[in-house]
Amino acid sequence: MKTFATLFSQLDETTKTSDKIRYLSSYFQLAKPMDKLWTIALFSGRRPKRAVTTTQLRHWAAERAEIPLWLFEDCYRVVGDLAEALALILPPAQRTSDYSLDDWIVWLRALHEVPSDQRKPHIIRAWDQLPVQQCFLFNKLITGGFRVGVSQKLMTRALAQATGQDAATLAHRLMGNWTPETTTWAKLIESDNSETDLSRPYPFYLAHGLEVRDNRKLGDRPIMMPETGLASGDTQKTDPATAQLGPCQHWRAEWKWDGIRGQIILRDGNVYVWSRGEELITDRFPEFTELATLLPDGTVLDGEILAWKADRPMPFNALQKRIGRKTVPKKLRDDAPVVLMAYDLLEHHGQDIRAQPYDRRQAHLTALFAALPDTGPLRLSQQLVFETWVDLAGARAGARAAGTEGVMIKRQDSAYGVGRKKGDWWKWKLDPLTIDAVMIYAQAGHGRRATLYSDFTFALWQGEDLVPFTKAYSGLTDAELAEISKWVRKNTLQRFGPVRQVTPHHVFEIAFEGLHESPRHKSGVALRFPRMRRWRHDKVVQQANTLDDLKEMLSRYG
């Protein structure tokens, strides 16, 4: 564990990409193969099967530290990370251990063989021989979620440097269904003929956001955003956002669909559905199983999974209900049937065609769809026709009405890349909806924001009352957070555990992507991606919006 802990500290203690690559690369050259394999696995979100629950860990650690459980829970709230909070309250290590990362994982696996009511002394013995940093990492092995600022891209570059292989090839090898239990370092990374994993997806190509100018003035704006985000009279001018892309003839555009990015693979008669988070989600969307008979073998489609009814996308909320479910009851399937809105073809007749230009891939995709029935779980994302950038701005203005988030702009001759690369694919999202609301509750943040108030509840007027309608956590600068935290401390009316009720005084502009009806919320409305867009120092509480304003937005955009 020591070598891995050293690597972890090195990565954690620098923000420079070049340093991180150097540390990782030297680790990949020196560490034991199984340690390396697990390192890749952990940094890409894989983890060993959990042998004890987090509740057990909390109880055992509090007991070992001789503190009451409530105090541990408060510690956890301040630290913001369970694995770290456990490591920080446990007594210092009594002994040392030579176990490597892989040894500990093997040890954890063996723990499954121990009856569950006898696992506690084993965990405590492990804690007793791990210094703080190693103890933290050991706990992470159990709780999961290594966040060290090592992206897949960065890890791939380091691996490429350590092994002399091509980064794109490695990125592809690292995709898919493997775990260190099912493969080896040699098979996954080194063998020329890496074992064909039929389910293996391609790395997703991601778009960059197009810079959107923001020259709206404070004060006299209308309550609701106009549909376009462009002031009237401006419509004949090319938006500077698109102007930077050069002549529009080189570009193609489609709607930006608001669903789950997904890849559907048909190989050897089997269908595999992957999410962008590299999760195999085939079972959650049984609609796609029929593709086995519809699509030619050796086909990989890239697109957006959408809940789809009456020829248009349902609100994201409909899809959300299906995301967490491992199995899908018939009612849910009927209420929110899904389709894949396909917009790219990555593999055609078993050939990887990612290097072909966009237009050519689109031609193959269109031809493929021509042979399909209209009723299946597949839709072709139609090209938006535009002669000028002004045309496209006009189309974008209709995005909300079409149930989409904006438009995607892709270069006609672009290859399908790996990861987020600037230049060929752009997303041009609609401006968010906004509403002015009053802050009424504040709660201290976690981890990086421990000791600052950063989680807020906002309310709108209903007659003389302020009705809470949303929480928001992001959007303020560090200086603003410090300022509001200081204010919260001095203006607390009442405390409910960690939550403070504050004097209604500050108005914030809340931006959000969409809204839908929700019986679970007091206001009857739930927002999508709410965040604080601006601190409206210029407004007094009476000038905040009303719940009726929000309901009107619901009827227009919900």
Binding site: D12, E13, T14, T15, A65, I67, P68, W70, L71, D74, C75, V78, V79, G80, D81, E84, A85, L88, I89, H446, G447, R448, R449, A450, T451, L452, D478, A479, A482, S485, K486, R495
Partner: protein
């Protein structure tokens, strides 16, 4: 008949009715007893000040012309019907706990304190009392300090390592207390030590008091820093990441603070390295200090007051939270210093 409490908590600060004075008040008052020179305890605008002789010069430097009277540690002073004395708090040079006795009942205001001897300040002395008003900046069991010698060895090793790699080391530390504590324990054989102006001013004051020996150079506009290879720069935390550091060429930055115990806080500060060294007591230190006072009533101020007083109640003390405007070693304070 129930006696009036020795100390009360008012909007202006901690007040002693028997002596008609305040301790570390945050609004202007007639007579203020000051525990130490940090800005949240020693504020301007009071008519008369009383502090230890060791704390005086820094207060005068920070607050300008003030009407300041001073006492030595342990010396008693009668104010009205109260007897007061100042006792070492071990927080920074000259810092004190203030003991107030009225008709045999003793209250102690801790100010800020730490229990480990830092080799610079007079070490903390427990004062027996009936009621103890304690800070609890780090009143959570996650705050558990390693011995100073261990942390200083880490810092010196980091510095030596940077020096060998041709980088200047920059340590972010509070201008009063932490910076000088580091000066005492940094190994001058590794390279030259430089101090930011804000720190150098305080160094000078403490040197004049013979509390500190001079082993650092002030960073001035005409100091040729390029010639000083392998140097270590002491700077206020707010200057980390600033353009002021450009003159030093390639640097390695680190923050020295108790908060560095938390990975999230270190990352939020964008500090590459964090060394866990504080001038406040850790969880065990707080509990040990409280036990040593033999007090029954504990009032917790600034820090994790609610949690700490709840725990103290759990283990049998009569404890409650008091709202004050002291900030302790908070994260926001860094920006201001």
């Amino acid at each position: 008949m129930r006696r009036a409490p020795v100390l009360t908590f008012t909007r202006k600060g901690i007040y002693c009715p028997a002596g008609d004075f305040y301790i570390d008040p945050w609004r202007p008052v007639d007579r203020a007893l000051i525990t130490h020179g940090h800005a949240d305890h020693a504020r301007s605008g009071h008519r008369r000040y009383l502090a230890t002789d060791l704390a005086g010069p820094v207060m005068q430097h920070r607050l300008g012309k003030i009407d300041l009277d001073s006492v030595k540690y342990g010396q008693t002073r009668r104010i009205g019907d109260a007897t007061v004395s100042f006792h070492p708090a071990g927080h920074v040079p000259g810092s004190a706990q203030i003991k107030v006795e009225v008709l045999g009942e003793i209250w102690v205001v801790s100010g800020d304190y730490k229990t480990e001897n830092d080799g610079l300040s007079d070490p903390f002395e427990p004062v027996a009392c009936h009621s103890f008003i304690t800070e609890c900046t780090f009143g959570m069991p996650i705050f558990d300090w390693q011995p100073q010698a261990t942390v200083m060895a880490q810092i010196n090793a980091w510095w030596a390592n940077n020096a060998a790699a041709g980088r200047t080391s920059v340590l972010g530390a509070y201008a009063l207390g932490k910076a000088q504590r580091l000066l005492v324990h940094l190994n001058p054989d590794i390279g030259p030590i430089l101090s930011h102006t804000a720190i150098a001013k305080t160094n000078e004051i403490l040197q004049n008091q013979s509390i500190l020996t001079n082993n650092s150079k002030q960073v001035t506009a005409n100091l040729d820093v390029k010639k000083l290879s392998g140097a270590l720069v002491l700077a206020p935390p707010s200057s980390l990441g600033s353009t002021w550091l450009r003159r030093f060429g390639p640097v390695s930055e680190a923050v020295v603070s108790g908060w560095m115990r938390l990975r999230g806080v270190r990352r939020r500060r964008n500090a590459e390295r964090g060394f866990v060294l504080s001038d406040h007591a850790d969880w065990k230190g707080l509990l040990q200090a409280i036990r040593a006072t033999e007090a029954e009533n504990i009032y917790t101020t600034h820090g994790y007051t609610d949690v700490f007083s709840r725990y103290l109640s759990d283990i049998g003390y009569c404890a409650q939270t008091v709202t004050t405007e002291f900030t302790g070693e908070t994260l926001e304070q860094d920006q201001a210093l």
